[in-house]
């Protein structure tokens, strides 16, 4: 009995690596510390009432943000481990298997568990406030989205200590990831973790589309909306139409692995390329899902800090919409070398290049907005300028890759790696960081320290170029992606070493950011006005952080940049408080069910990972029961009495 238990445990837990044991110890210690702190300060009830059961978009946004930053840390450590291994030739810091696992988790985490929650964090914090709404259209669903993401990410990350990490690359191409060649549970963790969080993403997409279409303040016509909301709409359109393809790709691969089907196998007539096709039907739009909100952020930031209206509003909207539609017609450029007909490759190549046109329009519009503006050099505008530069060049290397003959030469080389890191870091991460600095005061009520932030900025930026510019060259020199080491006489050593230095500089930049946040929590400049940047849109018309109900009175919107126009006319929302009587405010109820339902998804997922069918059944039954209970629910909202609104506005100094 004891022997069997031992055997089970040695298969169940990941063993044999000192680094993993160290992490195990760290995980246990951190968990114990959290439990102890919560118990000692009697915070369990607070955690449950205020956070776990919350349906408030602002709190959900904060939870998304914390998760995204944690995942950025984990993905970043993965990156540093890889760069350490590749710094010099013939190293044995990581073995081949471990290296495979690390590049798989790095890619998956950064795209799905860092970039996605990061954009959702900003959607949640900014969109309802910019629209003049009191919450999203479906607050309960919003909570489900978050907890589905959370448990999906948890399931995926669990593979680190239980069962073993996935090792088939972040795209997880079959036939390598089919059962015969990849029997471990790691791949199942990948499939189920992504599936569960993907459901949450689709729900978020639907939620924000309806919010934007239906919940705008009176007078805010679509063409008077802030551009960030437009970018969220564009991004959500892509989400709802692209994510089902991922759902299907993952589902079919799971059926292959668990029910012995032959979708993507080499036997039985399967066609592995079909997975790759479906994966990129989602995968290419996915990069637009994460970049479009960054475009929106830039449009807000340049207008605010140049104190000018955005240049070319209508063309900005049009380019967002064009990108969101054309992004569907480019997916096959990820497998030009498959050997499809010349017609296929030409079509998808040309379509990919066309995306450059609306993107170029946006870049010019940002530059023209800043042109002859009095640009205030704050952290958001730093990151904005860095993004415009970096993304423009990253996009250009993308045009190179879209040319089929060049792609044949450089596909899957470090040229590609450098390209997509330049668009995803230089575009998405820089843009999101601009948004983070911009909306941070709105989320937490204080500004982040500028000095430390500039240190972080320069380390991260210079580090970025030092890290990735050599990789373009390495690609031309023939270094392919996913090699875990290389011989000394390949001539790649100096470039790789430089690249590793850059990676560590980015690591230092991240540490500066952490220090900046910790420092600013205590010493950061408090935002008492609610409008620290002299903003233009409605989120700056309410206190920071915004009260539970956001707006005591919903403002009437007449112009674009509604808040700016109000300020020009000497109006404010405080005046509304005096002019109009307070009314009871209709708010959604908190609910623990989104958490419990997602927990059941997690249980089902965990059972399926190990093919413990009973556990999968229990989990899915729990999901079904919680869904029926939700269907039976009839009243899930309440009213905040007028007196309470009045009291709370008075406490905020606004009445």
């Amino acid at each position: 009995m004891l022997d069997r238990l031992k055997e089970f445990a040695s298969n169940f837990f990941v063993t044999g690596e000192p680094m993993i044991y160290m992490s195990d110890v760290a995980i246990v210690l951190v968990s114990l510390a959290i439990i102890f702190t919560l118990t000692y300060f009697k915070k369990w009830k607070w955690l449950w009432r205020e956070w776990i059961t919350t349906v408030d978009h602002k709190r959900i946004g904060i939870m998304y943000l914390i998760s995204a930053l944690l995942m950025l840390f984990r993905g970043g450590v993965d990156a540093l481990l890889m760069r350490t291994q590749l710094a010099l030739p013939n190293q044995h810091f990581l073995d081949a298997q471990h290296y495979n696992e690390i590049f798989t988790t790095h890619g998956t985490i950064m795209i799905l568990f860092m970039a996605m929650p990061f954009i959702f964090a900003l959607f949640n914090i900014a969109v309802p406030l910019q629209l003049g709404a009191r919450d999203v259209a479906f607050p309960y669903l919003n909570a489900i989205s978050f907890w589905m993401f959370f448990f999906g990410a948890l399931l995926f990350n669990l593979s680190f200590v239980i069962g073993g990490s996935p090792d088939g690359g972040w795209m997880s191409y079959p036939p390598l990831t089919e059962l015969p060649t990849d029997p471990g549970p790691g791949e199942n963790f990948y499939l189920l973790g992504l599936q569960i969080s993907g459901i949450g993403s689709i729900a978020t997409g639907i939620n924000f589309i309806v919010t934007i279409l239906k919940m705008r303040a009176p007078g805010m016509k679509l063409m008077k909306m802030p551009l960030f909301c437009w970018s969220v709409l564009a991004s959500c359109i892509v989400i709802i139409f692209a994510f089902p393809a991922l759902t299907i790709a993952l589902l079919l691969l799971m059926i292959d692995r668990m029910a012995g089907a032959h979708f993507f196998t080499m036997t039985g007539g399967g066609n592995p390329m079909m997975y790759i096709n479906l994966f990129w039907v989602w995968g290419h739009p996915e990069v637009y899902i994460v970049i479009l909100p960054a475009f929106g952020i830039l449009s807000e930031v340049v207008a605010t800090f140049s104190r000018k209206k955005i240049f070319g509003y209508a063309s900005m909207v049009a380019s967002l919409m064009v990108i969101s539609i054309v992004s569907y017609l480019v997916w096959a450029h990820h497998y030009f070398v498959m050997g499809a007909s010349a017609g296929v490759n030409s079509f998808f190549g040309v379509a990919s290049m066309i995306i450059g046109i609306p993107t170029g329009v946006k870049i010019f519009n940002w530059i023209f907005t800043m042109f002859r503006g009095r640009v205030r050099m704050t952290l958001p505008i730093y990151w904005t300028m860095a993004m415009i530069t970096c993304f423009a060049f990253g996009g250009m290397t993308g045009i190179m890759l879209a040319a089929v003959p060049i792609d044949y030469q450089v596909h899957n080389s470090y040229f590609l790696i450098a390209h997509f890191h330049q668009t995803l870091i230089g575009g998405v991460v820089f843009g999101l960081l601009a948004g983070l600095y911009y909306w941070w005061p709105k989320m937490f009520g204080f500004k982040l320290n500028e000095r430390l932030g500039k240190w972080a900025f320069w380390f991260f930026n210079i580090g970025f170029y030092v890290c990735f510019m050599p990789q373009y060259a390495l690609g031309f020199m023939g270094m392919t992606r996913r090699v875990y080491t290389y011989p000394a006489d390949a001539g790649w050593t100096s470039m790789n070493f430089t690249s590793t230095i850059g990676a560590y500089m980015m690591g230092v930049g991240f540490i500066f950011m952490v220090v900046q946040i910790l420092y600013s929590i205590k010493y950061g400049e408090r935002d008492l006005t609610g409008d620290p940047w002299d903003g233009r849109t409605l989120e700056w018309s309410v206190p920071s952080p915004a009260p539970e109900y956001n707006f005591a009175h919903i403002p009437e919107v007449e112009e674009r940049d509604a808040w700016w126009e109000m300020k020009q006319k000497g109006q404010s929302l405080v005046q509304l408080n005096h002019q109009k009587p307070f009314e009871p405010i209709h708010m959604p109820n908190n609910s623990g069910r989104p958490f419990i339902m997602s927990l059941f998804f997690f249980i089902a997922g965990f059972g399926l990972v190990f093919n413990w069918w009973w556990m999968g059944a229990v989990g899915l039954l729990g999901v079904a029961v919680t869904m029926v209970l939700r269907s039976q629910e009839r009243h899930d909202s309440h009213y905040i009495p007028a007196e309470e609104v009045q009291r709370s506005e008075a406490a905020l100094g606004r009445f």
Binding site: A137, F138, I202, G205, I206, N207, I209, V210, L213, K214, M215, P218, I240, F241, A242, F243, P244, A245, T247, I248, A249, L251, L252, I255, D256, A259, G260, A261, H262, F263, T265, T267, G268, G269, G270, N271, M274, N277, L278, V281, H586, A624, V628, S631, Q632, R634, H635, S637
Partner: protein, 217 residues
């Protein structure tokens, strides 16, 4: 106009909200009603893409039979799949009658037609299961060929949707029985009927491009 609804809020409606001079049906009168209905339409658009991907996979793998049964040989029982089609079409009709009854404020008929719809749905699922079991006994399983994997997954996913719809519809019937036709129940019933019609549309395509294609080829 949405503000007018805002104020009157959900539950009790004091005036009938209008859009473009027309009085809106009950399901649009609460705060949540129009939001949920639009949200559900968009969900259906998403689900359409989901089935689109399954159809794409089926088409690509249709001829990959690995020396086994082809679609022409598999779909020789025309009566069976035609019966499934007619049953589902009829259930779509009866669920639309349920909405008709709801808008005439006829609770009894509403419940009656929903129950008929559930029964038709159950018989559809039953027939489909029988068909699958038959194939299983003839050795045509998912692990035989890529074509069969694609077939069982596409049709099975539709069947799962229908089964879910049945459970959901029963849950709504119990609520109508308890609370009658109010804004909340009207919204829920309208949405389940959208779902049900959508599944009918998907089935029409399965009928046309899976079964009939097999027959024709």
């Amino acid at each position: 106009m949405s503000t007018a609804i805002h104020k009157s809020s959900h539950g009790s409606v004091h005036e009938s909200p209008k859009y473009k001079g027309k009085v809106l049906p009950l399901e649009y009168t609460s705060h949540e009603g129009p939001l949920n209905i639009l949200g559900f339409w968009i969900f259906l658009a998403t689900d359409l893409i989901l089935f689109g991907c399954l159809f794409a996979t089926y088409f690509v793998l249709r001829t990959h039979v690995d020396g086994g049964v082809t679609d022409k040989e598999l779909f020789d029982n025309i009566t069976s799949f035609t019966a499934e089609t007619v049953i589902l079409l009829t259930s779509s009709f009866t669920s639309s009658l349920a909405i008709f009854a709801m808008r005439n404020n006829n609770k009894k008929r509403l419940i009656g037609w929903l129950i008929v719809t559930v029964i038709l749905g159950l018989s559809f699922v039953g027939l489909e299961l029988r068909e699958f079991i038959e194939y299983y006994h003839e050795g045509y399983t998912m692990s035989r060929s890529a074509f069969l994997s694609g077939f069982f997954t596409l049709v099975g996913t539709h069947g799962c949707h229908v089964s879910l719809g049945i459970i959901w519809m029963i849950s709504i019937i119990t609520q109508i029985a308890r609370y009658g036709i109010d804004a909340i129940n009207a919204r829920k019933t309208f949405i389940i009927s959208l779902y049900w019609h959508f599944l009918d549309i998907v089935w029409v395509f399965i009928f046309s491009v899976v079964y009939l294609t097999g027959v024709v080829s």
